[in-house]
Each structure stands twice: as C-alpha cells, then as structure tokens.
Amino acid sequence: MIELQNITKNYNISNAESILALNNISLTFKEGELIILKGASGSGKSTILSLIAGLQKPTSGEVIVDKKRISKLTDDFSSLYRRENIGFVFQKYNLIPNLSVKENIILPLIPNNIDENLLQTKLNKIMEKFNIEHKENILVKNLSGGEQQRVAIARAHINNPKIILADEPTANLDKVLSENFISILRELKNSNKTIIIATHDPIFFNLDIVDKTINIQNGQILLCS
C-alpha cells in the first residue's frame, strides 16, 4: 500500500523564486494496482514518482509505503529501500551505453553480492522473459529503442521489486513497440506488481488492465477515476 499524505513539493530556483510542483495532494495506491498518472509536462507526475521512489523528499507531507515512512528516511536507508522495493523505468532508459545488456541488467544486484550461479540463473530467466537473451553480450548503445527499453524494464525487474515506476515509458517508442510494452505490463500486473506510470500517451488511457487514472494539473489532482 502506498500513501501520499498532504504532499507539497516546492523546487527552489533561487532564494526568492520557487516552483510549486505539488500542492497538498493526498493519494492512496493499493498493492497490485496499475495506476496511470496523466497530465501535461510539468504537471507534477514525475515528482510523484520520485517521491514514491525516495529519490526526493517532499517540502511537507508524508510518503508511506507498506507502513514505512519513506519521506523520513536518510539517503542510505532510502537507497536500501529502493534497492529492495522499487524498479524504475525512465523515459530515456538511463542505461549505461558502454556496458553490455547483461551488465546493465545485473547492476541493481551488485550491492547484494549474490552468488555467481544464482546471478546467472536470475539473469537468464529475466532475459528470456523480456526476449533479449540473444543480445546478452551486446553493448546497449548498439540496440534499437525498443530493445533498450526491454533492457531497462529487465533491469527494473531483476530485483523482483514490489513496485514498478515508469516515467513516460513510451515517449520514444513507435506504436508497435508501445504495444509490446503494454503486453509486458500485463505480465507484470499478473504477477501482482504495483505499477505506476506517469504518461500523457493516450495508448494507456482506455486499457483494461488500468485500475486507476489520475489526472494531474499544476500540482493538483483534477480527477481520480
């Protein structure tokens, strides 16, 4: 269960100037739900994802995930929480171009010091799931956009996180690849992952797997359906 309680987030540009990204919003997401956060650029969607991931702290208010007060964690505990609970898919994938597919995917597992055999088993399983096993040793900079995104999703998934956050995941994909992405989402949803997607791509708006669509404008919730 994810709860955002009276969240306000200001970005200070200078001492005198600040941008109000979120204005006293409260939201609740249940386990296993697929939620779409929709709204124009700058509406506050990505800020919500960052707050849930513990990448940022709110100016006021509280983020609670499974009764844990995420917004009160120090950087070290925040990293630990992310490592164990969050898979993040970024708009531009944020892969390391000069590392291979395998190396990119296993990155989140490195701090866990996992046994080599177990690591390879996990890796094979995940690459097979996302249909990239034949690209294992290829540098990600040599992959197509769709393949890079599958690597990004595999990386987000390798830790078996409870929550998957995706920020504009189809922004750089054509229609066919976007549909591929949606079929991956279906699989993740079936495995009871909580998925939160920040997007303004209409492809998501009438999907049968979506539990909730939240419309955000200027840091406020316009509609929650």
């Binding site: 309680q5 702290k57 100016t59 006021s60 208010g61 509280e62 007060r69 917004s71 009160k72 120090t74």
Partner: protein
C-alpha cells in the same frame, strides 16, 4: 606571539575549524530546540537537511582534531629547541600558566569528540535517528569547550616568552617539583605498578562478566593509573635513567617516537572502554578496548623486562 610554521599552521587550522564549528553550532541549536522526528512539516524536513550538513561539518572537524592533537604535541616538542631551558614539550607546557590546562582540555575534548562520533554512528544506524537531538545537544556543549580550547591555545602561544628561561622536564617531573606532580613521587613505585596491573585485571574481569558500567569506570581509572605509572615507573625504563620521569621526552626521535604509539594505544583503548558504558551494542567497543589496553600494557611492560633481561637488575 612568535610564529613558527607549526604555530602558524595550528592557528590557521583552528580559525578554519572555529568558523565551520560556529556554522554547525547555529544549526545544532536550531535542531536541538525544534527537532521532532515524528513531524512531517516543512520545518522538520528543512531541519533534516540541515542536520545532514551539520553532521558532516562536525564529523570532519572531529576527525581532523585527532591528528591535529598529535601535531600540537609535536609542535610543543619542536618549540623546545627554541626556548632556553626546555628539553622537550614539557618545558613548553610549563612555560606559561596555560600550558598544563590546555593539554588537559585538549585530552578531555578528544574523548568528548570521540564520543560524539560514536553517538553519530549509532544515530545514523537506525531509520528513526534516535540520537539526533542528543548528539546536537552534546555538540552545543562541545562547541563551548572547543571555543575555550582555541582561545586558550591562542593565549598560550602568545604568552610564551622566548627570552625567558624555562624549567626542564627533569626538574618538572621530580620530587623537588613545586607543582602537584611532586605528590606522585611520594608513592612507592611498587604500589603504583601494582595498582596499574590490578586496574587492568579489573578491566578483563568486567569484560568477562559483561559489566559495561564497571568496565567503563575501570577504563576511566586506567587513564589515570597508566599515566601515573608511566611517569613514576615505566618512563624510567624507556630512558634507562632512574631519575628521569618525563612523559614527553619519549615522543622524541631518540626514543623512536615510541611515546606516540604509547599514547595512541592508551587513547584508543580507554576511549572504546568508556564509550562501551554508554551504548547498547557495545561488544565491539569492549573488544577493541581490551585489545588496545592490552597492547599498551605489553609495550610499557616490555621496557622494564628487556632492561632486566639485558642487565640482570632493576632500576
């Protein structure tokens, strides 16, 4: 004030540390007064950010204070080449009314700083930051003593008169000394070392019995018994001179700088021991304390033993 490169370095570093410590002091005051870990208000989030900054400042000042103390003693020792009559750091300490006082304050501060670092480590170990308010409260107290120390240090270096002849350590650490130090020479050395070894025995005993408060107390006493036994008994074997009792001369090259090792072992051992009385998971601290105190005991005990084995007599 006469300025040697070492004094200049100390004063500049003190000034830098004092400036940063003052920033940390103001932040600590705010945190100490307004911290509420249960709150999720804008003020609390701001304090959390500021606590991170203040902790970093304090941590680095305190970490640098430990080598700086060694450098301070090294500076005093080096100054003894300039001041007429001084044979080692002891002469410089005694050259003004502030020297002894300053050394004592510096040692107390070292233990306080060390305690703050341990408290900080324990605080950030838990998600709830249980000791934040206490550690910044403690820093408010440390800041006052730290400021006092810097002030006294400035006055001390300013008060040293290079024209004035000072007493050498041979006079200062003897029964004929006019200071309180002469009192320790009234005690039989055999009693002094018996108390010293008995004190160590109690440290071991309280470790076995896991009596952390008594373990801390016996470590506190160990500082005293160690220094007294070092002056009265062990020092004479380091110098191989029955009349020389100075606790500073063995910091010099002639004695292979063994004094630094001796004092560092004593500091780490007793510090860990004292700290273990105040923290919950103290197994590691107690173990470290025992190890370093034992190493200290081995090093100082080796001198009389080697002397006896070489010469067949005691001093």
């Amino acid at each position: 004030m006469f300025l040697t490169p070492e004094i200049l370095t100390l004063q500049i570093v003190n000034f830098i540390f004092f400036s940063f410590a003052t920033i940390a002091f103001f932040l600590s005051t705010k945190i100490f007064l307004k911290w509420d870990s249960t709150s999720s208000t804008q003020q609390q989030y701001k304090l959390e950010k500021q606590s991170y900054l203040a902790s970093i400042i304090i941590k680095y000042i305190l970490l640098f204070k430990i080598p700086l103390f060694i450098f301070f003693i090294f500076t005093l020792d080096k100054l003894s080449n300039i001041i007429t009559g001084a044979m080692c750091a002891a002469g410089i300490v005694d050259a003004t009314d502030y020297g002894s006082f300053l050394v004592i304050i510096k040692v107390i501060n070292l233990y306080l700083f060390g305690f703050w670092l341990i408290l900080h480590a324990k605080d950030i170990e838990k998600e709830t930051l249980p000791y934040t308010k206490y550690k910044f409260g403690l820093f408010l107290f440390i800041y006052i003593i730290f400021t006092f120390e810097i002030f006294i240090e400035l006055i001390m270096f300013n008060a040293i008169d290079i024209q004035q002849i000072v007493l050498c350590c041979g006079t200062l650490f003897s029964a004929s000394s006019t200071s309180f130090i002469s009192l320790i020479f009234d005690i039989n050395p055999l009693i002094v070392i018996s108390i010293f070894y008995l004190n160590f025995f109690f440290i071991v005993l309280f470790k076995i019995l896991n009596q952390k408060e008594l373990f801390a107390l016996s470590n506190l006493l160990f500082i005293l018994t160690s220094i007294v036994s070092l002056i009265v008994f062990f020092g004479t074997y380091i110098y191989e001179l029955p009349t020389h009792h100075c606790p500073f001369c063995f910091l010099q090259k002639e004695y292979n700088y063994i004094g630094y090792a001796i004092y560092i072992l004593l500091f780490i051992g007793t510090f860990n021991g004292i700290v273990s009385g105040f923290i919950k998971n103290n197994h590691k601290s107690m173990k470290n304390s025992l190890l370093f105190n034992f190493l200290y005991l081995l090093v100082v005990s080796a001198y009389p033993l080697i002397y006896f084995l070489n010469n067949g007599v005691w001093l």
